[in-house]
Symmetry: C2
Subunit: 294 residues, 2 copies
Amino acid sequence: MIGIDWGTTSFRAYRVGRDGGIRDQRAAPKGILNVPDGRFGDTLREEIGPWLAAGEDRVLLCGMIGSRQGWVEAPYLPCPAGPAELAAALVDIGFDWARVKLVPGLSGLDEAGVAEVMRGEETQVLGVATLLRDGGIACLPGTHSKWVRVAGGRIVSFTTHMTGEVFAALRGYTILARMMRDGPSDGASFDAGVARSADPGGLLHHVFGVRALALADRLAESEAAAYLSGILVGHEVRAALAGAGGAVVQLIGTPELTGLYGRAIQACGGYAERHDGEAAAYGLALIAEHAQWT
Amino acid sequence: MIGIDWGTTSFRAYRVGRDGGIRDQRAAPKGILNVPDGRFGDTLREEIGPWLAAGEDRVLLCGMIGSRQGWVEAPYLPCPAGPAELAAALVDIGFDWARVKLVPGLSGLDEAGVAEVMRGEETQVLGVATLLRDGGIACLPGTHSKWVRVAGGRIVSFTTHMTGEVFAALRGYTILARMMRDGPSDGASFDAGVARSADPGGLLHHVFGVRALALADRLAESEAAAYLSGILVGHEVRAALAGAGGAVVQLIGTPELTGLYGRAIQACGGYAERHDGEAAAYGLALIAEHAQWT
């Protein structure tokens, strides 16, 4: 089968064999915002035409391609949901070269009853074998980080943290911007920020400390962004792990981000295992197995 | 005497009688950033010339006028410090119409050893009689809120929270901006945000909920900014009051801000008393009493 993680800015396609192994893959900067005039079918043909010609005829898509701005809008499926529930809720897309279906996103309520939604992350999470088998916690760091709980082979709940976007807003549009210069960081500043997040005073006090330390010449301009990032990630991880000390967290994302989050999770008393975007391929193949293709 | 709270954007002058009462006052948008070419002496003459002509000849300034961008830079005085210590550290300014002195700002270290500084707030805090007499906690809300501890008639420590500026950055430069429209709020949304800040999940999760609630049509565009503000102020107040349940907080600032913070403090289990900017006049008069004017 062919599995495609089609997000806002990127397109990642995997050709998965019957044994579940990835036989081929390709990526392009053809996220849904970069496809002109809604020509999703043309894009699909351009990218995976050779695989279709070679005989593949089952294509499963996940991600923002199922949103209002995508090809076809797929209504969110409420939690809890696993591969079988998602497979039963797939949305068919009319496409003349192959059978194409879409994984719906998931919706849920956090502890306070606030609605949450995701598109694409559910498939990545279900592609991590250990989560599906034993349950546990997944974290998908990014602009809007997701923390996802899995139990009994199903996603039971999740929460979103605005960490990446808050970082960008503080980095770019506050007094802290003047304290920062782009440049390689040695990692120690990120760790110092994570450690700082454990102190009393709260996030709004800790972020001001970036300025105070810089004014006191205790924080170099090239390290200030890493320190700020550590403060924010540290607060995210501590809040997400609250009451789950010693938890094992399955991190899914780019090596750069999962590396940083892994260090933060360890510093906060948890354990991290890291996975990259290929988790989506395994999740797509698993959902495809449960689906009706006739 | 004449006391002047001369900040970044505003100039507030008070004529204080021998009984400590405010006899006259004037305000102008002549903060240090609005005075061209460093003509601070000319501005002073324009604003308080008539009072000087009427016989006043002791002028005490506090605020950013003592910063590097101000008239004369006054080095920060380390905490703990009260009226006597500040009076002993006043900086003389050469001015031919009257004797003019400057209150230095204060510096301190927070619990984690991070340096903090203030200019002007120290004078407002010492102008609140109950703090000077009984000690306690002051809060000066704003772009960079200050929380100040007073004991034995001296300021012993303080912390800064970047609440106002974080609000502006999130309001203006994140996905939340689209969820918001300016407009009068009924106050209930601010209170709901304060209540939300007590839930698990942390600040970075709570702020994302602004989007989730708006998408679910559970938060009107005209209420979203007030809700976001409540979340941030709630987190600030909870962190600042941690371990001080039932505390009485002396709030100093504009009626609008101290009104909101007063509600938040009450919701977080504390008690608030409100004071406006005139606290600076009482603080300036008190410091002037301790000073050598000959």
